[in-house]
Amino acid sequence: MGTRGYVLRKVVQALLTLVAVVVFNFFLFRILPADPVALLTRGAGAQLSPEEQAELRADYGLDQPLFPGQFLDFMGDTLRLDFGDSLILRPNESVVAVFVEAMWPTILLVGLSTVFSTIIGVVLGIYSGWRRGGKLDVSSMGVSLVLYSMPEFWLGMLLILLFSTTLGWFPASGHESVGSDLTGLDRLADVLNHLFLPLLTLTLAYIGEFYLVMRSSLLDVLGEDYIQTARAKGVREKFVLRRHAVRNALLPTITLIALSFGFVLGGAITVEYVFGYQGLGLLTYNALSARDYPLLQGVFLFASAAVIVMNLVADLVYGYFDPRVREA
């Protein structure tokens, strides 16, 4: 099968997965144990007359049978990217608008930390693998493992205690100072100051993953015959590493990086929670606590779609870098 067949197959697979997610999303939020009308009236449902309740049900199409009535409505709305209005958290605001508003802080935070941790993790992983058993390898291995296994929220709390409470260098919460009238560069600095601790937490927490994958994949490659061949040809060690080893060892890391970017839209729930950073993670948390199901449904769908798309990208990139995959 040629390149075109490979791409086509991957795209179709991704689309099928997306449809499955949409269908799952529909049923997931309809088997949840709560009456949407009771939720809508926030526990004061008892005060509504049966007629008023019936009216509300009709408004939201809840009087129709789950299948096909509600299901077809839902699929139609999804295709039109109409996810309705948030019920409780942001009454009368559209789910898409609420999502987009929370998306940028998360892209800034999770996106940047993924970029930083990728660069640092991959570079460290390469040096560690290359100088296996050396001082840098031993120490970075230990540190990475500790950071990787440490719960993010705990790391976050420790950093708050150190940098915010004790040293007073950086603010512990929010994405900018409340009530400040800063403008221009001062405002930018304020945003960066607030970004610093959550960004540091996430970057530290993510480094380990990239580092470990890069290091072990490089070690695998360094043991291959063609590396020995290259060395036997007299290629300088630096170029053995750069031309032959790293290029091949990067493949698993590329998949991991692409997938990580897919997860950006999932937000970083624990870190956003600890730092009160208003992104998609906190939005998900808030929507869940408020039982705002339409909002949750939208957030879940976008987050899953992002993962599926980036997964597709990973597959395609992998296929590009490693022709063997296309033939498989």
Binding site: G45, L89, P91, S164, V178, T183, L188, G276, N286, A290
Partner: protein
């Protein structure tokens, strides 16, 4: 290929920088340039969210806090004991001053002159009549209870409100907890329109308010800013702004209080509160308890709607309910669940409202007396007739096995549930505990499909509402248990039309006594609200109600009113700078750091490409 990749990397780096720059300048545009001095700003941290600023939809604590800052009541709640005091009304109407007619059916209330809305329109008696009539005409059921027996409410002139009732009533002095709305804003709206009305549009001068502060900025789920009304009729606040900053976790809130990012922290969990006690520059405050937690027994036996009730038949028996109440060690609950910050509960009228609260005397049921409880059950004929270790209904009926519901949203309730089921177990009664969400509990409660559950109330300062929840016709509405007692219903009606406050007090006491003795539910505890603030920066807090001799029991903020907000001022002693100081490194340093990173990355890539070229050569 290599060149493309490098170009790409540079593009990405440049893009990130411009992205940051853009977001910076975009942010800068919507910030108003600071003119002159920094406004005097007080920042309150809290963990509750504010979802709506529509006065008729308010439910959550921060929403009510905002109402008390933005709007006014006809009568307010006094600072010392929450009794009715003049607010928009100029005096408390009595028969002597001609405020109440001899038959008790007509109330003539004098309204303040010269109060204006934030848009300059005058606030008159017509606005008050409009608001009350709106509640009644559109049937806003959360509020209609405040306006019972109403025949008509009218405003014959700007400073007179005429309220006619069909029965002699004390309702005007309860007082109605309904904030007065501007008729010129809400006047033409249908109920549906009001439900959907956001009531926040700073560009258009909305909300239109009368209170000492007004909402000017609202970053949903994050923070909201109120600006002082320097023309406020009860006196201009010293503060220029109050900002509420909402935290998703109390831990970070307390760290921010320590770091000085915020000035006040509300509703602090016990462990964190302990860590703040005795800290320099921080004042902790054990606030009064306006709320209670209760364990309710299914009492849905008599009403028509109780046909589908699944309550255990043993719970119909007073002896069983009393025995269970006796097994509960309330002191122990307060100690182990609330860390001591609370008091054991007795009745549904909180002791903070001293005038109305009734406390059982010498004939009080014993607390935590398992032995006496067992003896009571033995005497009532509940024996383990089938020898399976569980008591049976008298005459060898079914096991005493109860379904016990606790709320996942209340860790305190879950903890208490564990302790209580342990004690009930020692009575030879088994329980199955189910921890559920609020909405699930609402379902079970409305269908009377439970035996026991733990929930709580934060009642009004006046006992009328909370007492009403035990009347028969509240079953399926606000009633905790579907308790029904004609004598109690009768007393409830009587306390609404008393001759004097003392007479009403007597009836209210009697009603509490009935509930205490009949045990439709066990009031477990009254919990304290724990607050702390930067005393090195601020002073002038006004406490409500009056603190006890230990200085406890008064709320510094989140009161029935806005006493503190109008009086908080910078501390005269101490060097603490006023306002939330923001930590962080300055813009110039950040620019330096970013420039350094770009130079390093560029340098590395340049060196690499040179290296490759050398290799080729």
């Amino acid at each position: 290929m290599r060149t493309t990749r490098r170009a790409l990397a540079i593009l990405v780096a440049a893009g990130m920088l411009t992205g940051l720059g853009l977001s910076g300048s975009a942010l800068a545009q919507d910030a108003s340039p600071s003119a002159g001095e920094e406004p005097l700003t007080f920042i309150v941290g809290l963990t509750n969210n504010m979802v709506t600023v529509n006065p008729l939809r308010a439910i959550e604590t921060p929403e009510y806090e905002l109402l008390s800052m933005q709007y006014n009541l006809l009568f307010g709640f006094s600072q010392d004991d929450m009794s009715a005091v003049p607010s928009l009304a100029t005096e408390i109407p009595t028969e002597e001053n001609g405020g109440v007619s001899a038959d008790g059916l007509t109330w003539t209330i004098k309204i303040r002159d010269g109060v204006t809305w934030s848009d300059g329109e005058p606030l008159t008696a017509a606005d008050i009549a409009f608001t009350y009539n709106l509640i009644l005409d559109q049937n806003w059921s959360t509020f209609t209870n405040y306006l019972p027996f109403t025949d008509s409410i009218t405003a014959p002139d700007d400073t007179t409100l005429l309220w006619k009732t069909t029965e002699p009533s004390i309702a005007p002095l309860i007082p109605p907890w309904i904030y007065i709305l501007p008729e010129h804003v809400f006047g033409d709206m249908s109920k549906d329109e009001i439900k959907k009305y956001e009531n926040f549009d700073p560009e258009a001068g909305v909300p239109v308010t009368s209170g000492p502060f007004r909402l000017v900025e609202w970053n949903k789920d994050e923070d909201w800013t109120l600006e002082a009304n320097k023309d406020y009729f009860e006196g201009a606040p010293t503060l220029d702004r109050v900002i509420f900053k909402r935290y998703t976790n109390a831990e970070t809130m307390v760290q921010d209080l320590r770091a000085g990012e915020i000035d006040f922290a509300e509703s602090i969990p016990v462990e964190l509160f302990r860590s703040l006690e005795g800290q320099e520059g921080i004042q902790t405050n054990v606030g009064g308890s306006f709320s209670y937690s209760q364990m309710s027994f299914n009492q849905c036996y008599v009403q028509k709607s109780c046909e589908q009730s699944t309550g255990h038949p043993a719970l119909e028996d007073l002896e069983v309910r009393q025995a269970i109440a006796m097994a509960i060690d309330k002191e122990n609950l307060v100690e182990r669940v609330l860390g001591g910050y609370g008091t054991p509960g007795t009745t549904i009228v909180v002791p903070t409202t001293t005038f109305w609260h009734w406390e059982p005397g010498a004939d009080a049921l014993p607390d935590g007396d398992i032995e006496a409880a067992n003896a009571k059950l033995d005497a009532a004929g509940y024996e383990d007739s089938d020898g399976d270790g569980v008591r049976n209904m008298p005459g060898g009926g079914e096991n005493l096995d109860f379904r016990f519901i606790v709320r996942t949203e209340s860790p305190d309730g879950v903890k208490a549930g564990k302790l209580i089921t342990g004690w009930i177990d020692q009575l030879g009664i088994t329980t199955t505990t189910q921890a559920v969400t609020d909405s699930k509990l609402i379902d079970a409660w409305l269908a009377s499909d439970y035996d026991l559950y733990i929930w709580g109330w934060g009642p009004d300062p006046d006992p009328d509402f909370i007492l009403s929840t035990f009347t028969t016709d509240q079953c399926g509405s606000w009633s905790d248990t579907c308790y029904s007692n004609p004598e109690y219903d009768q007393l409830y009606e009587e306390q609404r039309t008393p001759e004097s406050p003392e007479e009403r007090q007597g009836i209210v006491h009697e009603m509490q006594q009935i509930l205490y003795e009949q045990v439709p539910e066990v009031v477990l505890w009254y919990d304290n609200d724990l607050q702390a603030w930067r005393s090195d920066r601020w002073e002038g807090f006004q406490f409500q109600p009056k603190p006890d001799e230990n200085g406890d029991g008064g709320y510094a903020l989140f009161q029935y009113g806005n006493f503190s907000y109008r009086n908080i001022k910078p501390a005269s002693t101490g060097a603490g700078a006023a306002g939330g100081g923001s930590s962080g490194i300055p813009a110039a340093v950040w620019i330096g750091i970013i420039a350094a990173v770009v130079v390093v990355i560029g340098g590395v890539m340049f060196a690499r490409s040179r290296g490759d070229d050398e290799d080729k050569a």
